[in-house]
């Protein structure tokens, strides 16, 4: 049977959340504060999607508080190869996620808190939200020198960025989310947000690098929990509701019907990498082969994360032409992904002439190509 999803889901969540808890006024509440119990970036992003799609924000606005285990989150229209060190991410098992809102790339870990302000499109007001955050922080620690810039960043000591903002507007609802650096690992942050890939040309939204600082460095008595609480308190005050935070579990399908599908979609390769705007790679491979060093020019066009066009400028007869064309043909249409390419080229090697010299050249070239991904 097919039930109209949006109506029913909207009904369900608001029903559950309307269950009176201690001190929680169920009537005339204009806002709701919820916090995720999960640290999985995909699950938490899925909750944002869910609220955006299913909740009636006319009735009430929502503040969503969440934290993630180490992850890099890129903006909707960004290029992960341009924005971060994918090799390092894979090595360190740091997740990569693409959010639905615009803006730049950020590094999340448990020392960073995320705040999402859900409103109707009419009430979408980023500056107000950020002023709320600043007010909350100042109430907690009046000595902090923090202010909001016109780029919607929050700066500490006029210089260090402690918060970045992004937003998503849909049919009738909108959300504005921002980060807040409390005690994140700055070393990992700077190393993962530095891209080693050269020769990338694209119209993807570029990130604007900034010097960052943790609030913890300014005042070691601060913790993420304290910040979350202070912001929730200020929000509650401004919206005239009780300072009560409802915990939600992003894996709960009964509370949030359809959430698991959303979570899965955010993890697919097609979303994370495939949504990268078209870009081209124009670079030079320096391959040390026997006694010489070869400079091989490579040009590739990548669309939807797949190689559309591939040109490798090899010295004549370095590889038999038939083999070269087999390689190029196989790469075309294949994902711009090291794992996919590795399995592809090693499988292809099985049907090549069995010649050690040939094999070592092939392996050398392929390994260098894979380094580009």
């Amino acid at each position: 049977m097919v039930l109209q999803p949006s109506l029913k889901n909207c009904f369900r969540l608001s029903c559950v959340l309307r269950t009176p808890k201690a001190g929680f006024r169920s009537t005339a509440s204009e806002a709701l504060i919820i916090q995720s119990v999960s640290n999985d970036v995909y699950q938490n992003l899925a909750v944002e999607d869910w609220i955006h799609d299913h909740m009636d924000l006319e009735k009430r606005q929502v503040l969503f508080l969440w934290r993630n285990s180490p992850a890099v989150v890129i903006g909707r229209h960004q290029n992960p190869w341009q924005e971060c060190n994918l090799r390092l991410l894979r090595q360190k098992n740091i997740k990569l996620a693409r959010r639905r809102s615009g803006g730049g790339t950020v590094y999340h870990d448990l020392g960073n808190i995320n705040l999402t302000f859900f409103t109707t499109r009419k009430k979408y007001e980023r500056m107000e939200n950020l002023k709320l955050v600043v007010k909350a922080l100042k109430a907690l620690r009046p000595q902090l020198d923090i202010h909001v810039t016109d780029r919607y960043d929050i700066l500490l000591d006029r210089h260090y960025k402690i918060s970045g903002t992004a937003a998503k507007l849909g049919g009738t609802s909108a959300y504005h989310h921002c980060t807040l650096l409390c005690n994140a690992d700055k070393f990992v942050l700077s190393s993962v947000l530095k891209s080693p890939y050269k020769g990338l040309k694209s119209n993807a939204t570029p990130s604007v690098p900034a010097s960052v600082k943790n609030l913890f460095e300014e005042d070691p008595s601060l913790t993420s929990e304290m910040l979350l609480d202070a912001i929730a308190k200020e929000y509650a005050t401004q919206h005239q509701i009780d300072h009560h935070i409802t915990l939600i579990n992003p894996a709960d399908e009964t509370l949030l019907p359809g959430i698991n599908n959303k979570t899965k979609e955010l993890q697919t390769w097609e979303w994370v990498y495939g949504k990268t705007p078209k870009f081209s790679v124009s670079t030079c491979l320096n391959m040390a082969y026997k006694d010489s060093v070869l400079d091989i020019k490579v040009n590739m066009d990548v669309k939807h994360g797949r190689i559309e066009v591939c040109n490798i400028d090899l010295p004549e007869q370095w590889l038999p032409p038939a083999l070269y064309s087999k390689l190029v043909k196989s790469l075309t249409g294949s994902k711009f992904c090291p794992n996919e390419t590795t399995t592809l080229v090693t499988t292809l090697l099985r049907v090549c002439p069995q010649d050690d010299e040939l094999h070592s050249r092939w392996n050398l070239l392929c390994e260098n190509m894979i380094m580009l991904m």
């Binding site: 098992n93 009419k122 998503k168 249409g333 292809l348 392929c366």
Partner: protein, 525 residues
């Protein structure tokens, strides 16, 4: 029957086209009852207009109107077909509306177009996503305000679009009052067979608009519901009971509805003269509507490479040789050694034993570790025993290999396997891990199966597939029955250079090592 003054005026054989304005005030039921089957010539036009008006009143669009189109007559079907044609020819007459980029808020005047979700010629409905634009860290999904066909995109990707200026041109249906051409022609989710069955039944389902809406929201055909109210009227409880019955009942999708004898009393059949003529067998079970579509994808990347490999493998004349291995002793040995390996941080499975035994066998029968060149002119006997282990990953089958097994201990092999397995599941195997294999073992038994017919991976000449270990009764030397741990092995070899006898002898040797692991000690290098 309705007491609407309009209906009372109608004489049986004379049916003027009801005034649209009057239709608006009538309930669908009264309209339906007013327009009987006799009014065929007019029915087509009238029914469509009735539909559309009803559509506009109830904001949920699709199901209800198709119901009405069907209930009347086959000519309605014909009409929809004509309407389709009509639409095609009327396409050029459709009104083109310039859908302007609406206000984003915060005083933003320009945005960048980042992605189009539709292209020119696509049809869109209200609230469908049209494109994604970005402005200053805000990503906005622009949804359509109209139903229609996209006629022109005013911007390309990465262009700057201006608030208040046209974004796309949408052609909406010419005739005013029609919410969308889609409403008239489209008949989801029922298939054509459903249409016919609806008409055949010919009766009118009695239900209040609230009940109809409930049925419509849940995609239930009122004709399928047993009415328990007055005159077999369908009540809300009937819909809920019907729903309750449906959940959990997973019937196999049937493309054609089964024809069964007419129901004795469950269908609502008001005793009117017209209906008596329509006693044709009707289906009992509502065929589950299967709205799945075939999906075609190009074969790319790794799959393409597999196609090439397997096509090349096909050129090899394979022969198979299978045998049954008694692993009782090996199972015991492994149990003893497992904790020792764990202390060293390594997970010990059966594979290291199989691999080492294979290598010992290859020392005696080196032709199985060889490679035949393309023209079958030369056979190269490989010095290294790089034994590949087939692994199942998300991409599919990959075969990393353990290098130089001939100089590795069982523990070395086990730790190398651990490394390859963890890299494999993380998708981080390197080219050197995946190339250079000379012989392959495939432990398909971990998934299941007994005997297999493995395909040789070129440029190798042999492969072994290991089935699952099963506990079965066997006779021992004294004629007593004992519990044996039996596994089946299926070898395939290249018959161009390997003959059956060689394969059989290799297999026997391998079997003897595996069945009696202590014997491996004698030949370990």
């Amino acid at each position: 029957m309705s007491n609407h003054p309009f209906c009372e005026e109608i004489l049986p054989n004379v049916r003027p086209k009801p005034h649209l304005a009057q239709l608006k005030t009538m309930s669908p039921r009264s309209v339906a009852s007013c327009l009987g089957e006799e009014a065929e010539p007019h029915l087509a036009t009238i029914s469509v207009q009735v539909c559309i008006h009803r559509v506009r009143w109830c904001s949920s669009i699709r199901v209800i109107k198709s119901k009405y189109v069907c209930v009347f007559d086959k000519s309605a079907l014909k009409f929809s077909h004509q309407q389709r044609l009509f639409r095609t020819s009327a396409v050029s007459c459709g009104q083109i509306v310039q859908f302007k980029l609406s206000d984003i808020g915060e005083g933003i005047t320009e945005v960048t177009v980042k992605e189009w979700y539709i292209k020119e010629g696509d049809s869109v409905s209200q609230f469908d996503s049209i494109c994604e634009v970005q402005s200053d860290k805000a990503s906005v999904t622009i949804t359509s305000r109209y139903d229609g066909i996209i006629r022109k995109l005013h911007y390309s990707i990465d262009d700057i679009a201006f608030v208040g200026k046209p974004l796309v041109d949408i052609e909406i249906d010419a005739s005013k009052g029609f919410a969308s051409e889609k409403d008239v022609v489209e008949t989801p989710p029922m298939s054509h067979e459903e249409h016919t069955h609806q008409e055949i039944k010919g009766h009118k389902t009695l239900a209040t608009p609230a009940v109809r809406r409930l049925a419509m929201e849940n995609n239930i055909k009122l004709s399928e519901v047993v009415g328990t109210g007055k005159d077999n009227r369908i009540l809300k409880e009937d819909i809920l009971n019907y729903l309750a019955k449906q959940t959990g009942a997973i019937l196999p999708p049937s493309p054609k509805a089964e024809i069964v004898p007419p129901l004795p009393k469950s269908e609502t059949v008001p005793a009117t003269p017209k209906d008596k003529a329509r006693k044709i067998p009707v289906p009992v079970s509502r065929p589950i509507v299967f709205s799945g579509k075939d999906r075609t994808e190009p074969v790319t990347g790794f799959q393409k490479a597999m196609v090439k490999t397997m096509s090349a493998a096909l050129k090899i004349p394979h022969f198979g040789y299978c045998d049954e291995i008694d692993l009782t002793q090996l199972v015991q040995l492994r149990e003893e050694l497992k904790p020792l390996a764990e202390i060293r941080g390594i997970k010990l499975s059966f594979m290291p034993f199989f691999i080492k035994a294979a290598s010992l066998g290859l020392l005696q029968y080196p032709i199985l570790n060889a490679s035949l060149d393309e023209n079958c002119q030369n056979v190269t006997y490989k010095a290294s025993h790089n034994i590949g282990v087939a692994m199942d990953t998300e991409q599919g089958l990959i075969v990393p290999n353990v290098k130089n097994v001939q100089v590795c201990s069982v523990f070395d092999i086990a730790s190398e396997l651990n490394r390859l397995q963890s890299l494999g599941s993380a998708g981080q195997l390197g080219t050197s891990d995946l190339t250079g294999g000379t012989f392959t073992l495939s432990n398909i038994g971990t998934i299941g199966g007994t005997y297999a017919k493995p395909v040789i991976l070129p440029p190798e000449v042999a492969i072994g597939a290991l089935g699952k270990i099963q506990v079965v009764p066997r006779f021992n030397g004294q004629g007593e029955v004992f519990k044996a741990q039996i596994m089946n092995v299926s070898w395939s070899a290249d018959h161009r250079i390997i003959d059956g006898a060689t394969m059989a002898r290799f297999s026997n040797l391998w079997k003897s090592y595996v069945e009696n692991p202590a014997s491996m000690l004698l030949d370990l290098k």
